[in-house]
Amino acid sequence: MSNKPVAIELKKITKTFGKVVANKDVDLTVYEGEILSILGENGSGKTTLMNMISGIYFPDSGQIFVKGKEVSIQSPNDAFSLKIGMIHQHFKLVDVFTAAENIALGVDDGKKFDLKRISADIEAINKKYGFNIDLKKKIYEMSVSEKQTVEIVKVLYRGADILILDEPTAVLTPQETQKLFAILRKMREDGKAVVIITHKLHEVMSISDRVSVLRKGEYIGTINTAEANESILTEMMVGKKISLDIDRSEPKDPVDRLVIKNINCSNREGVKILNDVSFTARSGEILGIAGISGSGQRELLEAIAGLQKLDSGSIIYHNSKTGKEDNLRDKTPIQIRELGIRLSFVPEDRLGMGLVGNMDIVDNMMLRSYKKGKSVFLQKKEPKTLAEKIIKDLEVVTPSASTPVRRLSGGNVQKVLVGREIAASPTVLMAAYPVRGLDINSSYLIYNLLNQQKEKGVAVIFVGEDLDVLIDLCDRILVIGGGQINGIVDARTTTKEEIGLMMVKSKGGNADE
């Protein structure tokens, strides 16, 4: 490796935000013509480090060398003139512009603005790397993977030699990921330096030449991918050996608990979001829901939780003790609770829906229970006990129970939310992307909690994005695409590829109709 020319070298980079040390004395070297993975858990400072190379943050101390020269990168423009381009996790595109317009945006090469000439230049890039995008298509009509392609082309059009991709595969299907990797390999052959930020181990193994690991803001080390394996990398990432297996027990006499029949719903513009969805969630079982984000998962869960009005269909809850059946359709969360149905819901938007960021842990505990009792005043004793119990049991890292939850880290926020929802001893537990943004330890803690609930006979519905996890954790997996159910598979026998194909099926299906 060392015979390749150095693209970027970082020396003793430190960056702090208030008391939080995001990066501490980080050294890093990227060579031309290689793919380097930056691996680390959430909050380990990967993105912060890359943001300092791309001019979004400025380091507190340390030096950056680009092609051997010491530089000071104070803005994204500085980065661009050093031929550094970053593809962010959240795309920075103008929705109502076409692909070509977005790519040309902000580029001033001193020549007259001529979209035709620019389009021709872009096409040349497309051809070279095998991109397949329609330059005249508007961004809002594009799929996530198309948008990502536009971002990549944009960076290449600006002449970047050093590309940084922040968790590029998080939003892609396995097939799209393979396509992206093929393109990245082509760039490597072209002599470009590619840095990819990720926390998915198998991707690191399949795409990169070398891996640099960060842990809690500190640089742990770099190894050649060829000499690494997943358990070595995990140990570097977490700092100790941990087992990556999820215990999956066989469901104990499952009974139908929630029967969803032919539900349909549309959004404000009248576009169908759920199309004739039917399935059954059973007690003592984890039902996984896989699909590209935005395929109707949110609406589905919200419909069950009483937050989404349906056009038609029914949601029948079977009470196994009394044998009673209730239709939850168009009931409010309070009405559902008044029926004696304990339905817990961990929504995707934790601080915007499940919790109130500016309130402390105790007040957040009260969200579900504040109405209890006849008094007009709040009873803080019970929620306080509960808060302290959750902090202790789930090892929530917080200065105190009276800290606003928005000050907690992502993993701890999720522990508070999941803890509260489980404390209600539910019979149905729905969780949407419960481990998104969580470190490995917290993720496994959440998996274990879900498993415990399953063993208690709770019907668990788990919406996930990591197919490996879905396959390891769930009993059955429901694949949703474009608001339709594309199939339900047995998690013990299915493969990632099978699910990936089912995820995108609806698009082809619609075109045929």
Partner: protein
């Protein structure tokens, strides 16, 4: 690499502070006021021949000079505080009620109407009770109209409440032509001047004491309502995130309407205090823009009723001091208004220094070899 200058760090960098400790925040605020006073002094030196210290002294004397002045200061503070308390529940819920002015004015109008039409029919204590109830109801009606439209049709509450102010003003002007006394003066004059029917009584010979006590009680009630009641909790949840409110099954529309009713009711009480307890007359200017100042007070105090008392006091002090330097020193009243602006600017600006820290480029760099 053309536009990257030779390696140079930025001169100033801004970074976020840790959770500020309360006494540190207080020090920053006090320093801000001190700086504000220095800036004011500079302004006075530039635009007039006065010694700034004389000007400050005049302001203090204008507020604390005599017993009567102190009572006036407290009375004005109380009324500003009352209307600030009124807007607070709505703003805490992020309902942009810009109509406190109109809601208080309509409360004042209905109070005056009761005094005029029922003044010689009911004994004063009963009349006062009727006036209080009517003013509360009218304030509530004025406030709840925009809220209903907001809840049902999602209309913009800022515009709607703002418009309602104009309706209230015109209604008052219309009524004044009816109630003119004496004829042709185009004013209502002091209502029930001889019988003092419907006037809030003086306590211990202090005509404003009752006003101040009433507002004090409202302050405490509002604090408890917002902090310890289930209603207050719902207000915070709806204000912070409507999605969360829906998620836990709060009926958002109901909370909006109920909270705005509370706001309107306290606005109505402010109108009542203005007419029955203070002016004993009504003009289109009875509320005098306090409904808008109140919004600033409420936000500056971050919705804490007790802090609001302090902010109201400060603003009233500045306003009264402004009047004083205009009359005694013959400085243009605008000077005082500018000073008020400077002081508020510094206080609001100090928030930035409480939350952020500024790093200057240091000559020696750490980690440099």
């Amino acid at each position: 690499m053309n536009n990257v200058k030779k390696r140079k760090d930025p001169l100033i960098r801004i970074s976020k502070r840790d959770v500020p400790v309360w006494w540190k925040s207080l020090i920053i605020r006090v320093v801000a006021v001190a700086f504000a006073l220095v800036a004011c002094a500079g302004l006075i030196v530039i635009i007039s021949d006065y010694n700034p210290l004389d000007v400050f002294k005049t302001m203090i004397e204008g507020n604390f000079g005599t017993e009567r002045k102190i009572w006036n200061l407290l009375q004005n503070t109380a009324l500003l505080l009352c209307i600030s308390l009124a807007v607070t529940p709505a703003f805490k819920m992020k309902f942009w009620n810009l109509g406190a002015e109109g809601q208080a004015l309509i409360g004042a109008l209905s109070t005056a109407a009761c005094m005029i039409y029922l003044g010689d029919k009911l004994p004063s204590p009963v009349l006062i009770l009727v006036m209080l109830v009517v003013s509360i109801l009218s304030g509530m009606i004025w406030a709840v109209l925009p809220a209903i439209f907001k809840a049902k049709f999602n209309t913009n509450e800022s515009l709607f409440t703002l418009m309602m102010n104009y309706v209230a003003t015109q209604l008052v002007l219309y009524c004044i032509t009816f109630w003119e006394n004496p004829k042709g003066s185009n004013t209502v004059g002091i209502i029930n001047f001889d019988s003092e029917s419907g006037w809030l009584p003086a306590l211990f010979d202090q005509k404003y004491l009752l006003n101040i006590l009433i507002v004090t009680v409202i302050t405490v009630i509002m604090y408890i309502y917002l902090k310890y009641s289930k209603h207050g909790y719902e207000i915070s949840v709806v204000g912070e995130s409507e999605n969360t409110a829906r998620y836990i099954g709060i009926n958002v529309k109901k909370v909006i309407i109920r909270t705005v009713l509370v706001s309107g009711a306290v606005c109505g009480i402010t109108g009542f205090l203005l007419v029955s307890g203070t002016h004993h007359t009504i003009t289109a200017d009875t509320v005098g823009g306090q409904g808008f100042t109140a919004i600033m007070v409420s936000w500056l105090a971050k919705f804490n009723p007790f802090v609001m008392a302090g902010v109201s006091f400060l603003i009233t002090f500045l306003e009264r001091g402004a009047g004083e330097i205009a009359t005694i020193l013959r400085l243009n009243q605008s000077v005082a208004a500018i000073m008020q602006g400077i002081i508020l600017f510094f206080i609001i600006g100090s928030d930035f220094f409480i939350n952020y820290k500024i790093n200057f480029r240091s000559s020696k760099k750490e980690g440099h070899k």
